[in-house]
């Protein structure tokens, strides 16, 4: 339905889009994800024929957006981010104007207008002036305008920005309802949004596509493995417990996270949710459980890393590859203990633990502690300044995985 190849667009010296290629099949709902200024809007404007591309080409419904622009525009419903509507007109008048622009048959107009108003929940507001609508209602009116010609492709630029949580849920539900009839390309920088609505996500940053796939796929492929967190009373033989966990089927590694009070914490790295197996083992061994949870990296963490530039050299895209060597823990020159997004690699264990399974670490942020004890190292230390802590022997584990 949408096919984009090697699209590039420059504004002066700024490359808003840089060699972007992707395809969207009929009936797909694709989320365009990226920080502000990533090129989402530019890409959408090119697809709608508003902006010409500097290089490359794009086709919508088989028509070239540059040379067959009118054909393309007949087939798309576009909701720009600013939600442009004539403030001085009523909602119904705005929709009638759109119907005339799209040359809808006169007989169908009233019925279609009533239907889209019903769809977006504005049926009782049809006589209101657009200028008097609240932000959320205006957003819905804009959506109604985009939907009116029953377009094959819907292009929605930040359809939920400025909405309150309830309205957001409603718009989300609406988009999900539209999936049956339309191909939808929507952009957002709100992650839960995209995760909830879009079976497929394209992450763009600085004009380039960083990742493309289902949220699950992306998370597994890009952010490293997930793990089961176990905190239990395992007795004195922690090493034995670790080995027992490592012997479970499907476990790739077990990291000992050390003692937490009387409990001991383990991260059982695995691809699937092994909570039942771990739980069964714990029951068999009579370990008193304090926590048993399935933890996986979120799209949000992945996105943050891409947006923060960790993937700039492309190394992040390699599954399991270490983009940067994690900062050496604590010991080196009294350096602050590193805090990593992903659990830091523990000692490799078990036969199924290849060294490459060490999760990727993001640029390391220093761990700092605000110590308010005035007698710590003399009272002259400014208490408003964090001090670096040295944790001899503790390793990074104390900070990681929380």
């Amino acid at each position: 339905m949408i096919s984009v190849s090697h699209l590039t667009r420059t504004f002066g010296s700024l490359r808003a889009l840089d060699d972007v290629s992707f395809e969207v099949a009929r009936g797909e709902v694709v989320g365009f994800l990226g920080p502000n200024g990533a090129g989402k809007t530019t890409a959408m404007r090119i697809l709608t024929g508003y902006l010409p591309a500097t290089a490359g080409s794009a086709r919508v419904a088989g028509f070239d957006v540059l040379t067959q622009s009118l054909e393309v525009r007949r087939r798309i419903g576009y909701l720009p981010e600013a939600v442009p509507l004539y403030r001085e007109h009523r909602v119904s008048e705005m929709l009638e104007f759109q119907a005339r622009l799209h040359a809808l048959p006169r007989r169908e107009r009233a019925a279609r207008i009533a239907r889209v108003l019903e769809q977006v929940g504005l049926a009782d507001r049809r006589r209101d002036l657009v200028g008097n609508l609240s932000r959320g209602l205006r957003q819905r009116a804009g959506l109604a305008v985009a939907l009116l010609p029953d377009p094959e492709v819907l292009i929605l630029d930040e359809p939920t920005s400025g909405l309150d949580p309830i309205q957001r849920l409603e718009v989300r539900a609406l988009i999900q309802a539209l999936r049956a009839e339309h191909t939808v390309l929507l952009s957002s920088h709100i992650l839960p949004e995209i995760e909830a609505v879009c079976p497929r996500v394209i992450i763009v940053d600085q004009g380039r596509i960083r990742a493309d796939g289902t949220p699950d796929e992306l998370v597994t492929r890009l952010a490293g493995a997930s793990h089961v967190r176990l905190e239990a009373l395992v007795g004195p033989d922690a090493e034995g417990a670790r080995r027992a966990l490592g012997a479970l089927r499907g476990v790739r590694a077990v990291h000992d996270r050390g003692r937490l009070g009387i409990h001991h914490a383990f991260d059982v790295v695995c691809d699937e949710d092994l909570r039942e197996d771990v739980g069964a083992l714990a029951a068999a061994r009579r370990w008193a459980l304090r926590e048993l949870s399935w933890r996986r990296p979120t799209l949000e963490q992945l996105f943050a890393r891409i947006a923060l530039g960790a993937g700039d050299d492309g190394t992040l895209l390699e599954p399991g590859g270490s983009a940067r060597t994690p900062a050496a823990p604590s010991a080196a020159a009294g350096a602050p203990v590193a805090l990593s997004l992903a659990p830091a690699a523990g000692p490799p264990s078990g036969p199924a633990a290849p060294p490459a399974s060490a999760p990727v670490s993001s640029p390391q942020a220093a761990r700092v502690v605000y110590n308010l004890n005035p007698f710590d190292r003399g009272a002259t230390r400014s208490l408003s300044v964090p001090k670096a802590v040295e944790e001899p022997g503790a390793g990074p584990d104390g900070a990681a995985g929380r």
């Binding site: 902006l51 525009r73 576009y78 720009p80 442009p84 509507l85 007109h89 759109q98 622009l101 799209h102």
Partner: protein, 245 residues
């Protein structure tokens, strides 16, 4: 075509739901009506002469013609580019030319209505027993509409150049002033080349010597049509150029 009609219709509706159109109409009516009475008094009751004054012979007519079209057109493109409505229109299945033409038609129609108010005076005097020269009146009205169309096209071009309505209005007024005052300045020169060049843009003379006299001369009509199309073409280009910026 349907897109052009839809846009023209919306622009007209947009004009009349706002206060600007009504304010302009009432000011123009007041001024013209007051002046018409004044002309009648000073000309000793010559209805035809007074109508000629109202439709082109007086300074008030030209002042309105210089100021009103820019006020109508200043928002039409520049403000829409700022609010994003232009993005909406340019991604609708309508060509850029249809967008500009629709706006042009709406503004010109509004001004045609404004000049048709002279008809009110003519009907009044006719009702009082002094029928005017209807042919001359119609010619004068057509000429006024032709002048308005040209200035609307100029205004749209200016509006397409900038995102600030007031700047657009200013630029349009200055361009209109060039058209109207060029013959005055050209008259200062005794170079025949300068006089010929000035004659090519002399709007006042083209209006007065044909339309206002009740003569429908195609060469005079073409003068207006050509200049109008030229500025409309520039306006369409300016709208297209926005896409590249």
């Amino acid at each position: 075509m349907s897109g052009f009609l839809a846009i023209a219709r919306r622009e007209l509706a947009g004009l009349f739901v706002g206060p600007l159109a009504w304010a302009l109409l009432s000011i123009a009516l007041l001024l013209q009506g007051w002046l018409f009475v004044l002309y009648l008094r000073t000309s000793g009751g010559d209805v035809d002469l007074s109508l000629r004054f109202a439709l082109g012979e007086s300074w008030a007519f030209w002042a309105l013609l210089i100021l009103v079209p820019p006020l109508l057109t200043m928002r039409m493109i520049s403000e829409e580019s700022r609010t994003g409505l232009l993005e909406f229109l340019l991604t609708a299945p309508v060509s850029d030319a249809a967008v500009v033409a629709g706006k042009f038609a709406a503004a010109t129609l509004f001004l045609a209505l404004l000049w048709a108010t002279a008809l009110v005076y003519a009907l009044t005097t006719a009702g009082l027993g002094v029928p005017p020269d209807w042919g001359a009146l119609l010619g004068g009205w057509l000429g006024a509409v032709a002048c308005s169309a040209l200035f609307v096209a100029v205004g749209l071009f200016a509006s397409a150049l900038t995102s600030t309505p007031i700047v657009a209005a200013f630029a349009a007024v200055i361009l209109n002033l060039v058209f109207v005052t060029a013959p005055l300045l050209g008259g200062l020169s005794d170079q025949p080349a300068v006089r010929r060049a000035v004659a090519r843009i002399d709007v006042i003379d083209h209006h007065k010597s044909a339309f206002l006299a009740g003569v429908l001369d195609s060469s005079y009509l073409i003068f207006f049509v050509a200049w109008t199309l030229f500025f409309l073409f520039l306006a369409v280009r300016a709208v297209e150029a926005r896409r590249w910026r």
